[in-house]
């Protein structure tokens, strides 16, 4: 009796995490693609730890696609891979990406190619634990469902008895949290043109406004909850209580002392830096003063 068997990958991939650089790069490659190409294909680089694949870098690979065959520029892929390894030897091949919605027929051929590439590169690096199958990432630049769908797949081989039947692309959870992009500031990365980078104080002001808005929201929610207008949620209440309890309890006198000390320290620093600037002005005048012969 023939049994349909799943062959799970040697070390299971649980999820993947995408860095915003990769997304930016993919979109840039898509915008710059040659006119006759429908989609862009490229390699993903990153690292694997505990079943979580971190996708940190990527580059596009030129390819030719027609109705029945797909041709990928292997030399180019290998050259770029070596160049990237020179900069950062820890970023290894973890998969490939393609723009467009869903997985198409040609994708399985390309995926096989990348499986082979990964095996080759692992042999080079002599990294036996890193026997993770390659990841396939699709980025829907056409916004087909009216939303941005970025999905990651792992291929699982289906076989009937001893005969290999098909490769099934299973979707795995993708973490798109973009903490690095948050650091830069979403308002810089979101709009098409930003005229000026915010300096220290402007950034501080923006953060304080956001904090203020948050506190306002919480106040309104608590008011509503007390008056019975909003649903009472135990979890939220507990979170709020925890947050308020985390303010350290210091007696007013001690707090005043700490506060004044810090203010004086900062004032001393500002005074010091102004003094140094005055010193610089004088030093320059002395050094280039006309000589009295």
């Amino acid at each position: 009796m023939a049994v349909l068997q799943f062959f799970p990958p040697s070390s299971p991939i649980v999820s993947a995490r995408l860095h915003p650089v990769v997304l930016f790069n993919i979109c840039d490659c898509y915008v710059r693609r040659p006119d006759q190409a429908d989609r862009v294909i490229g390699t993903l680089l990153g690292s694997v730890s505990d079943g979580v694949v971190e996708i940190k870098n990527s580059y596009a690979v030129p390819h030719n696609e027609s109705a029945d065959q797909v041709a990928l520029d292997v030399e180019y892929h290998r050259n770029m891979y070596l160049s990237h390894l020179k900069v950062n030897p820890k970023e290894v091949l973890v998969g490939w990406f393609s723009t467009g919605f869903g997985v198409s027929g040609g994708s399985s051929l390309i995926h096989d190619f990348y499986v082979k590439e990964l095996k080759d590169s692992v042999k080079d690096l002599k990294d036996a634990q890193n026997s993770v199958p390659p990841l396939h990432l699709t980025v829907d630049t056409g916004f087909r469902n009216g939303e941005a769908s970025i999905k990651a797949y792992v291929s699982v081989n289906l076989s009937l008895g001893d005969r290999p039947l098909a490769a099934q692309f299973q979707e795995i959870p993708l973490d798109l949290r973009m903490i690095e992009a948050e650091r830069v500031g979403f308002d810089i990365l979101k709009t098409t043109v930003v005229d000026k980078l915010p300096n220290d104080l402007e950034g501080m002001e923006a953060s304080m406004e956001r904090l203020y808005a948050l506190i306002d929201d919480i106040y309104k929610y608590v008011d509503d909850a007390v008056e019975g207008r909003a649903a009472l949620d135990n979890d939220i209440g507990r979170f709020l209580a925890d947050a308020l309890a985390s303010v350290p309890k210091i007696s007013p006198a001690a707090f005043d002392k700490v506060f004044n000390d810090k203010i004086q320290d900062n004032l001393a620093l500002v005074y010091l830096s102004s003094l140094i600037r005055a010193q610089l002005g004088i030093a320059e005048k002395l050094n280039t003063a006309a000589q009295i012969l």
Binding site: K86, R183, T192, V193, F255
Partner: protein, 338 residues
């Protein structure tokens, strides 16, 4: 008829290209910004560099892409490797339609101590080949305070002229009215993003109004950063005072030499008068072989200017962080009172 019109149009275009408009703005793409940040953060605290690619359009220098340089060991053979790597990367990027035009380089820095002689030399090297180039400096330690510490720098034209002649004496500097602020020129940075990325980012923006950069900015513990800043500042002040000592020594020895020259001249004049009285040939009033007439070389002002630049940078940073500290402390106070 069409020919003459075409020719005059070409002439008009070619004549207008003679005058290059001054560089006013550096426009970076979000992709280049993120790549620079990623590369510098990965290798911090080591200092890394990379190449900028883009377009030179009118008074705007557009940076559309960049690639990192591998860390070069102190080895002679890797010089050729580095050049090969660069050519390889440029060739490969050309195939995927990335702008193949080098317009400068970027480097990471530690607390803003980037004004060195090497920077100036790299600038001069680049300036020989490219008409307009810029250097982007990224400071990962300041960015961990929540501010995006990206700066675009260029050498001023007057400084470059002076450097070519390699002449940094006090007179020349006074002539050109060049002071330490005139060495580097900071150019404002604009950031642009293609519409596709803008759509993606708008989709993927998290719901909460507070982001990671806010957490960084509202952190109360800035003491380690300030301490390191002050340490560097103190070191620089010591360097500056040693430079000033050099100048003082030069002035003192110059005035001493002049006193010696006067004394020698007096002696010669007296001798000559005696000789004239005796009817002999007067001796010449100059004696180039005498060592007191050898001109003492004036120490170059370049180092002291660079150090002054660094010090002023540190002062600015300290001021910035102290200002932020004040706001944070007052928030804490208000929170405590409630």
């Amino acid at each position: 008829m069409a020919n003459t019109m075409a020719r005059s149009f070409l002439q008009a275009v070619s004549s207008s290209e003679e005058v290059a408009p001054p560089l006013r703005v550096v426009q970076m793409e979000g992709l280049a910004v993120l790549k620079i940040i990623k590369h510098c953060n990965e290798f911090s605290p080591a200092l890394v560099t990379g190449q900028l690619l883009g377009l030179d359009v009118g008074s705007v220098l557009e940076v559309t892409n960049c690639f990192p340089f591998p860390i070069r060991e102190e080895d002679e053979e890797i010089e050729a490797d580095g050049a090969n790597y660069q050519l390889e990367m440029m060739r490969c990027l050309r195939e995927v339609n990335v702008d193949n035009n080098t317009i400068g380089w970027y480097q990471s820095t530690l607390l803003g101590s980037f004004q060195t002689v090497e920077l100036i030399e790299t600038f001069m090297n680049y300036q020989e080949n490219i008409r307009r180039c810029v250097c982007i400096i990224y400071d990962p330690s300041r960015s961990s305070q929540g501010a995006l510490a990206l700066k675009a720098l260029k050498l001023t034209d007057s400084f470059m002229d002076l450097h070519r002649k390699n002449n940094f004496t006090g007179e020349k500097l006074r002539e050109k009215k060049l002071s330490w602020v005139d060495i580097f020129e900071e150019i404002p940075i604009k950031i642009s993003n293609p519409a596709l990325i803008s759509a993606f980012m708008t989709e993927l923006e998290p719901e909460s109004p507070v982001a990671q950069c806010d957490y960084d900015r509202l952190k109360l513990s800035t003491a380690p950063y300030m301490e390191r800043n002050l340490e560097f500042l103190i070191d620089c002040m010591e360097d500056l005072s040693s430079e000033q000592n050099k100048f003082q020594y030069y002035y003192r020895s110059l005035s001493r030499q002049q006193a010696q020259q006067q004394a020698w001249l007096q002696k010669r004049r007296v001798e000559n008068m005696a000789r004239k009285a005796a009817g002999e040939e007067p001796l010449p009033e100059e004696d180039p072989s005498n060592s007191i007439f050898k001109p003492i070389p004036e120490p170059s002002h370049l180092d002291s200017y660079l150090i002054t630049n660094q010090i002023s940078n540190y002062c600015n940073q300290i001021n910035g962080v102290a200002g932020q500290n004040f706001s944070r402390l007052y928030i804490m106070k208000a929170l405590h009172e409630n």
